[in-house]
Symmetry: D2
């Protein structure tokens, strides 16, 4: 259910809270404090005002707010006792399907984190792969209290920016989506490589998990970006191109087995809202790639 | 135990047979027929004469000779009832450590092959990865009798060329060794990348098996070729370069995590006696490779 | 003065001839024969019908038509006694500013050509550089009569396609324009190279003639294609990129003088209606280019 | 006429002076002061001792020594009134064949330089192209006296190092030679490009001066380095590769005219004693180069 910014600007307090109040976890006071600032010129302005309300709150209120967030992959999540938004977000990084061993590991990190900081570990999971969440967890456990308090608020702002962008439509949408795209150029023929099968994988540790497939079109691109319309989760990826099949279809001899068959490009995403263009220029005997634009 | 070509040229029949007779599996008659052709100008000549003796033999003798070869990964191998040469060769492709399932698969292929052709499947295993042996097995099962008889003799000649090259030293050694080398050039700095950790893997199906590691030296090369002094087994390989660590040591910022960390180059070898030079040209944001020389 | 296809479809014969009759050099009968075929669904259809009229004409009429074309860079052109279209076209390849020596060379080739074929040399000059016109001239002098008659008509069709596309607007415009574009990617920084000065040159023999300059924008591209909205003249080109200045602005040390300063990319255009994308990927120590898409 | 270090170590003063005294322009006292330091373990040691003698001399003596150097491209050179070494060196950069205009320009720079510093402009011309000498001239005119006095001595040491390396043979030769090499890899075929015609040019201003030609051998390299056995003059170069002919010989279609015909690589040399390896990786539709090793 989305609402337009125009409608939102006309709502009374109750309707406004019903529409966007849940964006800030169990903190309807954020929406309440923001209602008076209507009308908002842009959706980004709306989110900025709501962030301002959090920043302006007393420290105790902020702390209580952070404490109201559920544990990542915690028992509340398992028991279904968290908001729907939280549930969907945790599912996005596969935190709802952890093995028993992984569950125990998250649980231990959570306990250590809460013991040190007094509030649960908060991270905008849609902006991270499962691997990256663990990297963040361990890195942030090393922070001092002030640094981590700021880091937790920043994550809340990432989370709520995504929630607002999902609930409200209108002018000036916040920039929450990244894009992963590719392009295959056959520099042996001097034209785009058409019909090349592509697979995208995400790494968890040393394991590559299949995400999706695509086929290059007449321009050597995929009809849809490999990832688009959402943040690119921070993490490590591999895109595999079936160039051996491509050159075989063209009737090119390149050894038996051919020198190049499946070409993997392995790279990391560090900017979830960025554009990662990772093209492949190839012949049966050479290839190159780069972060393009 | 090696012997010089000069010494071999002076040997009487008994000594000659003792020296090189076993090269042709259970066929001392090949050495016997070749003895009279001494002296040999080169080691290649010696092998050519021995191959000539096989080619000149009646078809029945040739068939009996092929039949004397052990099954690949067969029961004789498991029981130790084959020549030492055969034992070492089968170990080179890991055929001595098959799982029960793999053993059964080889066994079945062997049975089907012998039923069709009347002699065991012969392949110069030192020139193949385990994967490639299975590809060969299935491909050759589709041959007609004449084609496969010739193919089997050709494999015998590959096997014996390697055995002779291992036993006899002197002028005109046959070309039995391939070479896999690499070179890492840091095109961000315009100089060789020093101290880059490299790992070589061989593929069996979708699984990458670790073979060995190396570190680039001051010239961006490895002190020893990744594979050298032996045939390059036909098959699929991956060389992985720790370029993320390299640029981190140079203090270059390239995202967190860095855009490139472990760069895998995946390629196939089709010419066991060839030189495969597979360099990596890289910056923190791009890389390229090619079959070089 | 352009006319819309809709208006053209409604015109009587006189208006129709006035509008498009001159497209076929001194041959109003082509328009006259085409008028009855109205309405034309597309501008390409209009041109196809006019070409059909030429093809359907008796050989004598066709020959007379070819003979009515002016000499390339001939005396008629110098004296101004040719159609405006012809005048503009000849100027596009610099044929109106030949040196005395070049004028004599063209004159001689023209004489030889007319002596052999009985009609003047016709070429669609907007599709060629001056260099390419001379190559065509000499190549076509070697043709037999039938081949060259067909070649001359084909050139007439190229010429008239451009003229029609310049006079008539509407649905289904013929594809007469090519595009030359570039893109500079700084693979040292992993982003587009902004503010790089680019110069485009065209070759006549060994001499590079300056055509125009551009500067890369925030996306590493030029705001306008280097050539666009017209055919790309067949010929040899060089695009020069001031990458030394770019890296100097970024504060990168790359030798004194820097290893790369002006990087020239030299290539030829063979398809005047094609898209030539010629990007530069560069670091201070390396670069690459390719025909992209 | 060269002498061995061993012989030199045994010479009396007169012979020693005759052998190496002229290396330091009109300054036999340098050799005289060095004679007592025999034996020299290496040729580099000999030169180090001679440099030490200059450094140890009183400032007045040093100044007189600098003043004894001939003007670059000066009247003395034209009149033949300079040492043979100086004459050969000036010829190496073409300073003996200046146009009248260039002669005047050098003359003026010389006058300005001498007016400011009190000694003639000294530069090791073998380490520079004519272009680079002019760059040095103007840059050094901006120096203060102390900086330029040191710079002049440094140039003397470069000059004498080359002279000593040319006169004396033996252990520990000073490193005076650079190397410019190339390699052409046909990544369309996956092997070295054989028989590719290569031309080397040096730039003076915007003009490219032809230096020499070579043809790639079976390994895609030139039998001799493009420049070797001498310093690489600092300056700008272009190497041109006739790749269009190469692909035409291979029967590859790549447009008419072919997309790539003559490929120019333009780069600068900044380290006269360095190794510049400038390879070309190419297909009919793409190429790349880099400073290799």
């Amino acid at each position: 259910m989305t609402v337009t910014l125009a409608d939102l600007n006309r709502m009374d307090l109750a309707a406004f809270e019903a529409a966007v109040g849940e964006s800030f976890e169990l903190a309807p006071w954020v929406a309440a404090a923001s209602h008076a600032k209507r009308p908002f010129a842009t959706v980004s302005d709306l989110h900025a005002v709501m962030m301002g309300a959090v920043r302006a709150a007393p420290r105790d209120t902020q702390l209580a707010f952070l404490r109201n967030h559920p544990d990542l992959a915690g028992k509340a999540a398992r028991a279904g006792a968290i908001t729907d938004d939280s549930k969907d977000e945790q599912a996005s990084a596969g935190l709802d399907t952890l093995s028993e061993e992984e569950f125990v590991r998250f649980h231990r990190l959570n306990d250590a984190y809460k013991a040190k900081f007094g509030f649960p570990f908060i991270v905008c999971v849609r902006r991270h792969t499962r691997d990256s969440i663990l990297v963040q967890f361990e890195r942030r456990l090393g922070h001092d209290q002030a640094t981590e308090f700021a880091a937790a608020l920043q994550e809340v702002f990432f989370i709520t920016r995504l929630r607002i962008a999902g609930k409200v439509t209108g002018e000036g949408m916040p920039n929450v989506n990244g894009r992963l795209s590719t392009h295959v150029l056959d520099t042996h023929a001097g034209r785009p490589a058409i019909g090349v099968a592509i697979e995208l994988y995400e790494f968890t540790g040393e394991k590559a998990h299949y995400i999706q497939s695509a086929i290059t079109n007449a321009d050597g691109r995929t009809d849809q970006p490999l990832i688009g319309g959402r943040p690119l989760p921070i993490g490590r990826y591999e895109v595999r191109f079936a160039v051996g099949d491509h050159f075989r279809r063209r009737g090119i001899e390149a050894g038996d087995p051919p020198f190049l068959d499946i070409v993997p490009l392995r790279f990391s995403v560090a900017e979830p809202e960025g554009h990662y263009h990772v093209p492949l220029l190839c012949t049966p005997w050479s290839y190159s790639t780069y972060r393009g634009s």
